[in-house]
């Protein structure tokens, strides 16, 4: 196979490998942190899906001043979050519910925001984020900005009413956004066949009058190419588009899910389609990177995760009193009188 680099130079090809390794190393570090008792909430792996988030995010305009493209990632798209400037230590702080986390411990895992860097944390019913991104990108069109948005969600979210309402609104309003459906074939324990009758989510595109394309989500360069082309069309005024990432969720919905509803043989087969291994082999086969360069990236990403996680471990949890702040921008939420000094509710 004579592989195309899709116009990417050696440094950029290495960037992609770095982002893939970073995603995997960060999630493997999380597993360790969970075993150590530092992660108390759910833990969700993207094993086998890393190339979808990385390839897509790399195709977009990433800025630090609020002028770039806007990302809405998911729990299984941490690679995109990192490429958009989400700090590794913040990722660990969020999972560990630290008071130093971007949400000061109010929210978990990848649910955080940075409008300057250009990412918006999801709400857990993911279909709703189609509506939110429709409005963000509507504002780009209204303000005549050359920005676009990309919103990740799963095959399961495609069944919600919010998905439909958000997409239909975006299509009608020609909102410059790309819907990235992460078709990993499972919505928790529900197979895609129980979420939809269509064999490919791209079949849904024409129903909304938008263009859609399906791509092998384990091939980071194919994803990059598909999203770059989609982004060019969206940016040029075509309006909303959809890209389907096809791959397979090789872990359970979360660590607490033993995945016993999936034939273990299928999972073993899918290990051969590991996006990191595939891309690594390709880099070597095409002489885009040397073994030494790749090992250096692997060591470096392992090490930055270790250092960031250890730093985050040492940081404090939030003071419980902080639970009452910021419910509103301008109002104070009272503390319960039983938590204060007043012996009498009439005086509190």
């Amino acid at each position: 196979m004579s592989d195309s680099t899709y116009g990417l130079g050696r440094t950029e090809l290495h960037d992609l490998y770095h982002a893939l390794c970073l995603t995997r190393a960060a999630e493997e570090r999380l597993e360790l942190l969970q075993k150590q008792g530092h992660v108390t909430g759910g833990l969700y792996r993207s094993l086998g899906q890393e190339a979808g988030a990385v390839g897509a995010a790399y195709a977009l305009r990433r800025r630090n001043d609020g002028s770039g493209d806007m990302l809405c990632h998911t729990i299984r798209a941490a690679g995109a979050l990192f490429l958009f400037g989400g700090e590794l230590i913040d990722f660990f702080r969020q999972y560990m519910a630290k008071g130093t986390s971007p949400t000061r411990g109010r929210e978990a895992n990848v649910h955080w925001f940075d409008f300057e860097k250009g990412f918006v944390g999801p709400v857990s019913p993911l279909g709703t984020m189609i509506e939110i991104m429709a409005g963000m990108t509507l504002s780009f069109r209204l303000k005549d900005e050359e920005r676009i948005g990309i919103v990740f969600y799963g095959d399961g979210a495609s069944s919600t009413g919010a998905w439909h309402e958000g997409l239909n609104f975006a299509a009608v309003q020609r909102c410059p956004m790309i819907l990235m459906v992460e078709n990993n074939q499972w919505a928790f324990s529900t197979p895609t066949s129980k979420n939809t009758r269509v064999s490919s989510f791209t079949d849904k595109g024409p129903g909304y009058g938008i263009g859609a394309e399906s791509v092998d989500g384990t091939d980071v360069l194919a994803v990059f190419d598909a999203v770059r082309r989609a982004a060019a069309l969206v940016r040029s005024g075509e309006g909303t588009r959809m890209v389907e990432l096809k791959y397979f969720r090789r872990k359970g919905h979360a660590q607490h899910d033993p995945q016993d509803y999936v034939d273990p043989e299928v999972i073993r087969m899918r290990e051969k389609k590991d996006p990191v291994d595939l891309y690594r082999a390709r880099l070597l086969d095409n002489d885009w990177a040397s073994e030494e360069e790749l090992v250096a990236i692997e060591h470096e990403t392992f090490e930055v995760c270790r250092v960031a996680a250890e730093a985050a471990i040492a940081e404090p949890y939030p003071d419980g009193l902080d639970a009452v702040t910021d419910v509103y921008t301008d109002l104070t939420t009272p503390h319960p009188w039983t938590r204060g000094d007043s012996p009498d509710p009439t005086l509190a």
Partner: protein, 341 residues
């Protein structure tokens, strides 16, 4: 915009009285003129000017980027409004009838209300629309929706009873950095008795402040919306027929609740009647009663009572709807009972 203001939006300028609906239109128009980041979305608000004509002629004046006719998808456009608010705009969405807000319940309660707390920053967004019964609208065009949202921290809920308040409260809502649900009683929209001359100046009515409609000494009625007017009618009857002096508090904002105003009045009159058009169980009377119990139990000289709609869907037929809704006579009877207690 150098286009001229449509004639029908110049009544206050000319010193003429306006209806509550006209006051709301003026508020929207003036805020859109004052601040380019304010824009409107909703069903049939552009070409048609809104089901109740609140935004008549707005499309021609402001253009289709600021007056957006949406698909019939309250969740979709309310969610989109939230996204636009993230990006620095100040959307005002119209729910054609507030009964139809339910598809947006997910995005309002899970996403919009929690935004600031989750670190996503301010959410300057107003969701407004007509509510209330008495218009033979049946189960799907007559509901009050405040209590579906009252339990959600992060939201503000506003429910005006007069033209002057409607304008000032809507302006304050649009300028607020928090999401506001703004309920407009359709029975008050064009009520001739509510026509009044408004101040020809840029004024707001601050959110969270109740208004004493009428001072009294024997008992307090806490109410809001259309029931303010029925309560005033009842108070006049009680005054003339029974010599009972009734104080009336119009909440104006339901969330945050002006607890001080309620408690102060109860401490003065020692008796409390809550009147609301919304249905009984889980209505705001329950919350008000517990707050008074916490803060003014020793001052009470009688039970806290309530007059509300009955616990049923809003029926269509006039005889049924009139029975369903709280009427002035109900308020008179309850207040009479309480005064004599």
């Amino acid at each position: 915009m150098d286009r001229e203001t449509p004639e029908h939006l110049l009544k206050t300028k000319r010193g003429e009285p306006v209806t509550m609906l006209e006051a709301i239109s003026e508020a929207l128009f003036e805020e859109m003129t004052r601040d380019d980041s304010v824009f409107l979305m909703g069903e049939d608000i552009g070409v048609y000017g809104g089901a109740f004509k609140v935004t008549r002629d707005f499309l021609a004046h402001f253009g289709e980027n600021r007056v957006i006719d949406t698909p019939i998808a309250e969740g979709g456009f309310t969610g989109a409004a939230a996204g636009a608010a993230h990006m620095g705009l100040r959307p005002v969405v119209e729910i054609q009838f507030m009964d139809f807000i339910s598809p947006a319940y997910d995005v309002i309660t899970n996403y919009i209300a929690t935004s600031n707390y989750r670190g996503a920053g301010p959410m300057p967004l107003v969701i407004r629309g007509p509510v209330g019964g008495g218009n033979r609208g049946g189960p799907f065009h007559s509901q009050n929706v405040e209590m579906a949202f009252f339990h959600t921290p992060g939201l503000k809920i506003v429910y005006p009873s007069t033209a002057k308040d409607a304008k000032g409260l809507l302006k304050a809502s649009i300028r607020d950095d928090n999401p506001v649900i703004f309920e407009e009683h359709k029975g008050l929209y064009r009520a001739p008795a509510l026509r009044e001359v408004l101040p020809d100046e840029d004024y707001i009515v601050p959110l969270g402040q109740a208004r004493t409609v009428r001072e009294g000494t024997d008992l307090t009625i806490v109410t809001y919306g259309a029931m303010v007017h029925k309560s005033v009618d009842a108070a006049e009857t009680l005054e003339s027929e029974d010599g009972v002096s009734v104080e009336i508090i119009d909440l104006r904002t339901l969330l945050p609740l002006d607890e001080d105003a309620i408690v102060q009045s109860v401490k003065k009159t020692n008796k409390l009647l809550v009147v609301h058009e919304d249905t009984r169980t889980g209505g705001i009377a329950g919350e008000i009663a517990i707050r008074v119990s916490e803060k003014a139990f020793e001052w009470l000289d009688g039970p806290i009572l309530r007059v509300t709609a009955i616990d049923a869907p809003v029926p269509y037929s006039g005889s049924l709807e009139d029975y369903f809704l709280p009427q002035t006579d109900d308020v008179v009877k309850a207040a009479r009972y309480l005064a004599a207690y």
